[in-house]
C-alpha cells in the first residue's frame, strides 16, 4: 500500500462487528415469533392495528433502523468474504464488493423510507 493511502477496511469491519452483535442478540427472537410461532398458530398473533401501533412508536423505529442497517452491512461483509473464500471467487472480489455493499446501502435507504412512511 502506498504511503498516505488509507484503507476502508476498518469501516466495514466496524459495521460488520456491530451488526454481528445486533444479529446475535435480536434476530433469533424475531424469527422465532414472526417466522415460526405466529404463522404456525402456536401463539396468538397480534393484529394489524397492534403491530402498526408498535412499529409507529419512535423507539421501535429507531430500534428497527439500527437493527436492519447494521445487519445489512454485517451480512454484506460476511457474504462477500464467504463467496470469496469458501466458494473460491477471489477473482470477482471487486464485483462482489460492489454487489454486497451496494445491496446493504440500498437496504438501508429502503429501511429509512419504509420507517418514515409506515
Amino acid at each position: 500500500m502506498s504511503a498516505g493511502k488509507r484503507s476502508n477496511e476498518p469501516v466495514v469491519w466496524f459495521l460488520f462487528g456491530v451488526g454481528g452483535f445486533f444479529a446475535a442478540y435480536f434476530l433469533p427472537v424475531h424469527v422465532l415469533f414472526y417466522g415460526l410461532l405466529f404463522p404456525s398458530g402456536l401463539v396468538h398473533a397480534p393484529g394489524y392495528q397492534q403491530t402498526l401501533a408498535l412499529v409507529r412508536h419512535p423507539l421501535t423505529r429507531l430500534y428497527l433502523f439500527a437493527l436492519l442497517t447494521f445487519c445489512f452491512f454485517h451480512a454484506a461483509h460476511r457474504m462477500r468474504l464467504t463467496m470469496s473464500d469458501v466458494l473460491n471467487l477471489r477473482h470477482l472480489n471487486t464485483v462482489l464488493a460492489f454487489l454486497c455493499y451496494g445491496g446493504a446501502i440500498v437496504g438501508t435507504i429502503v429501511t429509512v423510507w419504509l420507517l418514515a412512511t409506515v
Binding site: A23, F33, L36, P39, V43, L68, A75, D85, G107
Partner: protein
Amino acid sequence: MAQYTQFQPKAYRPRMSAYWYLDQWHYLRYALRESSSFFVAYFCVLTLVQLAALGAGAGRYAHFEALMRCPLMIIINAVALAFFLLHSITWFNLVPRVAMRQMLGRPTPDMVSSAPNYMVWFGATVILALFFLGVL
C-alpha cells in the same frame, strides 16, 4: 533493475478443491457459520416486506400473514433460526478471543468473558418477546 530471464519463477499456487470445506468438521463448521450471513440478509429483506405490507394497509398485511403461514416459509424460517443460533453461539464464544481478558491481573476464564453476552441475549429475548406478545 531486474533483468529479463527466459524462465520466470512462478508463484506457488496450491490447488484447492472446490469442496475443501467438506474435508474436516472444523472447515464445515466455519463454512456453515459464515453462511448464516445469507439468512441474516434474507430475514432483513423479509422484515422490509413486512414493513411495506404494514404501510400498505390491513388487506396487504393479511396477504403477508398468509404468505408467512405457507409451509415452505415456515421451513425456511426454521432453518434460518438454526443458523441464527449458530451465529449467536459462535459469536459470543469468540468474545474471549478478541476482548481484554485480564481481571485483577490474572487471565479471565473463557466462560467468564462470554457469560455477560449470554445474559444480555437472554434479557433481550425476554423483553422483545413481551413486546411482540403485547404484554409491554
